[in-house]
């Protein structure tokens, strides 16, 4: 009979490994996999407790987690694909635009962000005709 603590230790190790991976890797797919690993650590915990208590609550939860994780994986991979398409890179530090205005971007000096290939600009059409006059009252509150 393997004691409960052993399961918990395995779960914790999985969780911490995932966490460390999530915090240290800059590749988005690796980060996603690390997050999955954390989930697995939690799932082991739940199953272990279910066994310990002798009921199925934990198992049911785990099934839920697996389902949700599957959905999440589908969505996340789709998102990652979209992100890759715009910047041609999987480096997460390229996505800092959501920071508050007036702050410098944080750059990792040890491993610099790869230069992005410059994209061909799309051709612009010259506007034709005269734009209709738009009198916008300044006094809106």
């Amino acid at each position: 009979m393997i004691p409960l603590s052993s399961y918990l230790i395995v779960g914790a190790i999985l969780f911490v490994l995932g966490m460390i991976g999530f915090l240290t890797r800059r590749n988005m797919i690796l980060m996603f996999l690390c997050a999955e690993m954390m989930l697995q650590g939690v799932a082991i915990n739940l199953v272990a407790f279910a066994r310990h208590h002798g009921n199925l609550h934990g198992q049911v939860f785990t099934l839920f987690i697996i389902t949700v994780a599957a959905c999440e994986a589908a969505l996340a991979l789709a998102l990652i694909l979209m992100l890759y398409r715009t910047k041609k890179s999987l480096d997460v530090s390229l996505w800092q635009e959501l920071r508050e205005p007036g702050q410098e971007a944080i750059l990792d000096l040890d491993e610099p962000v790869p230069e992005l290939p410059r994209e061909e600009p799309l051709p612009h059409l010259t506007p034709s005709g005269i734009a209709p006059p738009q009198k916008r009252e300044d006094s809106y509150v």
């Binding site: 009252e137 006094s139 809106y140 509150v141």
Partner: protein, 573 residues
């Protein structure tokens, strides 16, 4: 006139401005003349209906029995009142039913009514709207439909506050006044209108949210003790009286604490609105930036919402706290406000700002009288509310008319206007005299009663005579800044600001139509104030008796505590 039709009239004066506002807003900005006329007709019709209602109701109110068995408000002309036989005229029109535990059903009600405290304020509101529409006639050219719609909506909200007898309804209307005024200042105001509008809105909103806390807290406290959940103000007042009359020490301790918090919470919102001394800084900004009609309504009516709130809710619902905290605190703030407002007014260069600060000073007077907590002072305070509405409203109208001609409000730009604009100056001097409180004009009566009431103030913490001396100083200072303004702007050698060649005329018939009735009413109130007092007497006595009972309780408590004190000392030895 039968009571039933009076009830309909009461609903009409609330509904007509709202309907007119909707019509005007729907018309679109292109048909400005039609919009003006519709607004004018609406406010005139409303004024006439209010006068009819007021005359009939005043008659009924004067006939009420003088003696009070139990101090409680008894509004008349309550729409939705099932029968006229019942003593308390309660409405049956529920807005929001509340099932609370297994107690009997209760509701937030659409509870409107007239009594002696609000009838004259409602009349004042309807009356001041007419000059407001008239004075905006030419000065508002852009987005006229929205302007008049907001103006009329504001009237509905203001009348609603005065008429409401349900504490939540009161609050709803109270907050509703903010929105139209916010837009009136923010869209049609002066150069710094946005800041002023935002400050006005946030400042008063913050205050009144705390007031809402106080209101709900009080309702819940009453529910806790009596297991009756009610939002009706008369009901709350009589429950409170019954509770406070109980001779139980635990209850007394409970209510002491509750009253303190509730009073402070209620007072914050109303004090911002009044405005009392340290909370007044939104007022000069809002006044200076607001269009003329906005200033008139702001000074004339909106500030009265604060004083009226004190009178209607604070004094009757938390009488002990009003005595123990209100008199020293609010009284002191009032006298500071009187002197401070006057000094600030004197130091201003902008005429409109001067008038704005004079409001701080005058409203200080109003609060001082109210917190004398006796019938004389409260009556004076009520008179002062009406009089300040007329006088300061008039002053803002005059300043607006002057501004419309020369587009400057700086005193140094003017001089000797009395020789240039004779009729305008005549009215200006007259309105200043009413504001200074010259006898046989409206300001005098209120000031005398406030001084009398303050002298008669019964409190253990403060001496009323000290307050009265400060009040008297305010009378002198009031004359000082207004007469200095008159001297600088209207007397001396003629000095006209540059008006870029535009024709400067004396008052037009339209402006005369705005000012003349106002002046007549000022004179009339000064000569015949007694009908107003007769109408309000019973309700003033209600408040005064509640306060007197609080004083007696405080004294009884002190008398009980006094014999124990030596024993405790002996025990300590």
């Amino acid at each position: 006139m039968p009571l039933e039709s009076l009830r309909v009239l009461l609903l009409c004066i609330l509904a007509i401005p709202a309907i007119a506002a909707a019509i005007v807003a729907a018309l679109g900005p292109r048909v400005l003349p039609a919009i003006r006329w519709i607004s004018l007709v609406a406010v005139l019709v409303n004024l006439i209906l209010t006068i009819i209602l007021g005359a009939n109701a005043a008659d009924l109110l004067q006939k009420r029995p003088e003696s009070l068995t139990k101090p409680a408000f008894q509004p008349i002309c309550v729409p939705g009142d099932p029968g006229s036989q019942s003593e308390t005229h309660a409405t049956q029109w529920d807005l929001l039913r509340i099932q609370f535990g297994d107690e009997r059903n209760t509701a937030i009600q659409f509870y409107l009514g007239l009594d002696g405290l609000n009838i004259w304020l409602v009349l004042l509101t309807s009356f001041l709207m007419v000059p407001c529409v008239l004075v905006s006639w030419n000065s508002i050219q852009e987005r006229g439909n929205e302007y008049y719609a907001w103006l009329l909506a504001l009237q509905t909200a203001m009348i609603g506050v005065f008429l409401a007898f349900d504490i939540i309804l009161f609050y709803v209307f109270f907050e509703l006044t903010l929105v139209p005024m916010f837009f009136l200042i923010g869209i049609w105001g002066g150069p710094a209108r946005r800041e002023a509008a935002r400050k006005f809105f946030l400042f008063t909103l913050t205050g009144s949210l705390i007031t809402l806390l106080g209101m709900i807290g009080l309702v819940i406290a009453v529910y806790q003790q009596t297991h009756v959940l009610t939002f009706s103000v008369p009901e709350l007042v009589s429950r409170m009286q019954a509770e406070l009359a109980l001779q139980s020490p635990e209850r007394a301790a409970f209510w002491h604490q509750v009253q303190t918090y509730v009073f402070l919470a209620l007072a914050v919102g109303f004090a911002v609105k009044v405005p009392l001394f340290p909370l007044h800084t939104w007022l000069p900004h809002a006044h200076v930036e607001a269009p003329t009609a906005g200033s008139v309504l702001l000074a004339g009516i909106l500030l009265k919402l604060g004083t009226y709130g004190f009178l209607r809710l604070c004094l009757p619902l938390t009488p002990d706290a009003a005595l123990s905290i209100g008199v020293p605190l609010i009284g002191t703030l009032s006298i500071i406000g009187i002197v401070y407002g006057a000094l600030c007014a004197f130091a201003q260069e902008d005429i409109k700002k001067l008038v704005a600060y004079s409001s701080v000073s005058h409203l200080g007077f109003c609060m001082l009288g109210m917190f004398a907590l006796n019938a004389t002072g409260i009556a004076g305070s009520l008179m002062q509310m009406i009089n300040h509405g007329l006088s300061t409203g008039g002053l803002f109208l005059m300043v607006g008319m002057l501004y419309e001609r020369y587009h400057t409000r700086q005193m140094k730009d003017y001089g000797g206007m009395a020789a240039r604009l004779k009729i305008l100056s005549l009215f200006m001097v007259f309105i200043c005299l009413t504001s200074v409180g010259l006898p046989f004009l409206n300001g005098f009566v209120g000031e005398m009663m406030i001084l009398g009431g303050t002298f008669d103030l019964r409190s253990d913490q403060v001496n009323g005579i000290v307050f009265a001396v400060a009040g008297a100083a305010g009378i002198v200072l009031g004359a000082w800044y207004l007469f200095t303004m008159l001297q600088r702007v209207f007397f001396g050698p003629v000095k006209e600001p540059n008006h870029h060649g535009s024709l400067i005329t004396d008052l037009t018939p339209r402006e005369l139509a705005a000012m003349f009735p106002l002046a007549i009413v000022c004179l009339l109130i000064g000569i015949l104030p007694q009908p107003m007092l007769d109408t309000a007497r019973r309700d003033i006595n209600v408040v005064a008796q509640i306060s007197a009972a609080a004083y007696d309780r405080a004294h009884a408590a002190a008398a009980n505590a006094a014999p124990q004190a030596p024993e405790q000392q002996a025990a300590a030895r």
